[in-house]
């Protein structure tokens, strides 16, 4: 860890201890420090500002309630991102309760329902071509299944190291790598020629 990170960690842990002692106001500084990063991740996961705001707020509330369970030897942002990504994934799954187009087809290697059935979220090519860059990015991320979406967002938008993604998602490093690889392949496939 860099020296700046260590100083940051000390400040955060100090505030956390104040919160544990019952000083609710000390939590405000924590929210202020992480609000943009957390909101951004939620927005990229959910593709909707209203939902992102709701889930990011909920993530902070959960962090507050469970603050005593946070291991202060670890990185706070990792813990916070874990709460947020779990909430986002729950929300995404509630939106499509039946089955996932991108779930792997049993007995095939890396072949998903996307490659078999035309997705109802896929838009006509000419419409996609007219999109602004930002809109297109969100559209392409939104077409990834939640397990690839979370790793791609953390890797390429949050620019986190693979090890940190593994800590956030509580997955073995190897699994994270596999998901990044498949996520990249899926992106390439769905984007075709830019």
């Amino acid at each position: 860890m860099e020296r700046r990170d260590i100083a940051m960690n000390q400040l955060i842990n100090k505030r956390i201890n104040e919160v544990i002692k019952g000083n609710q106001e000390a939590f405000e500084e924590i929210v202020t420090l992480f609000q943009h990063r957390l909101y951004h991740v939620c927005y990229r996961m959910l593709g909707n500002r209203q939902e992102a705001e709701d889930i990011a707020q909920e993530a902070f509330v959960r962090a507050y309630i469970n603050i005593h369970t946070f291991d202060q030897k670890r990185k706070f942002s990792t813990w916070l991102f874990r709460i947020a990504t779990n909430l986002c994934i729950d929300r995404i799954r509630k939106r499509k309760p039946d089955y996932y187009l991108d779930a792997e087809v049993p007995g095939t290697e890396g072949l998903t329902m996307y490659s078999q059935v035309a997705s109802d979220v896929a838009l006509p090519e000419e419409e996609v071509a007219r999109m602004e860059t930002e809109e297109r990015i969100q559209y392409e991320i939104g077409r990834l299944s939640d397990k690839y979406r979370s790793v791609i967002i953390l890797r390429y938008i949050e620019e986190l190291p693979l090890q940190e993604i593994s800590d956030i998602l509580e997955l073995p490093l190897g699994t994270v790598k596999t998901r990044v690889h498949r996520g990249r392949a899926a992106l390439k496939k769905q984007m075709g020629n830019l």
Binding site: Q35, Y39, H40, Q57, Y64, T133, I137
Partner: protein, 211 residues
């Protein structure tokens, strides 16, 4: 489809993850230079990532922090009380003592409606009237509860009448203090005085034993 060894695709991903071994990297570069279809795949993967990486950071809406703070569960008043207790242990103990004491004393004041009198020889008790006969000397304190006390003789001690009446004849002599208690607060004060006196009495009494 790609007929190149699967290892090449693995090398591509390892390269993109930034954790490729040196010899694998050389192998990959050599292969890409020779194989246009693999070079195309590599370019497509790189383009896809670079496209996603253009994403602009998006900030949380104005008022986000305040909204979070408003959503936090309210601090339980219990927590506040506990914190206060932890900060002021002595005050807390005193307050606790006072609350318990006054509770027991007040309940004592309300419930104890029966006539009673301190047992002393020479006292005449008729119904709820206690008389100190003329010419007699009572050695000791007299406490009358819920009754009438007539003093015609002499009392060598304190006289206390709780919720009752006291009549002193012209011949009456009380060497100690004489008081009548009618109000709850008088009662409370009296009880506290008695308790304190008891504490000191027992304290004094025990000293010789300890030594």
């Amino acid at each position: 489809m790609n007929t190149c060894p699967e290892q090449i695709v693995h090398c591509m991903h390892a390269y993109l993850d930034g954790d490729i071994r040196h010899d694998d990297e050389q192998l990959l570069m050599k292969h890409l230079a020779e194989c246009p279809s693999c070079q195309k795949l590599m370019d497509d993967l790189t383009d896809a990532i670079e496209f996603i990486e253009q994403a602009e950071p998006i900030e949380a809406p104005v008022g986000f922090v305040n909204d979070v703070m408003a959503r936090l569960p309210k601090e339980k008043s219990q927590v506040g009380i506990q914190r206060w207790l932890r900060k002021h242990p002595l005050l807390a103990a005193a307050a606790m003592f006072f609350v318990l004491m006054s509770a027991s004393i007040f309940s004592g004041y309300g419930n104890d409606q029966q006539f009673s009198v301190t047992k002393q020889p020479n006292l005449i008790v008729e119904g709820e009237t206690v008389t100190v006969p003329e010419g007699e000397v009572i050695k000791g304190d007299i406490i009358v509860k819920n009754g009438e006390l007539r003093i015609e003789g002499e009392v060598d001690g304190n006289v206390t009448v709780i919720r009752g009446s006291k009549y002193m004849a012209s011949t009456a002599v009380v060497t100690g203090t004489s008081e009548e208690i009618d109000q709850a607060f008088d009662w409370l004060w009296y009880k506290i005085k008695e308790t304190v006196k008891d504490i000191f009495k027992t304290g004094d009494g025990e000293k010789p034993v300890e030594e």
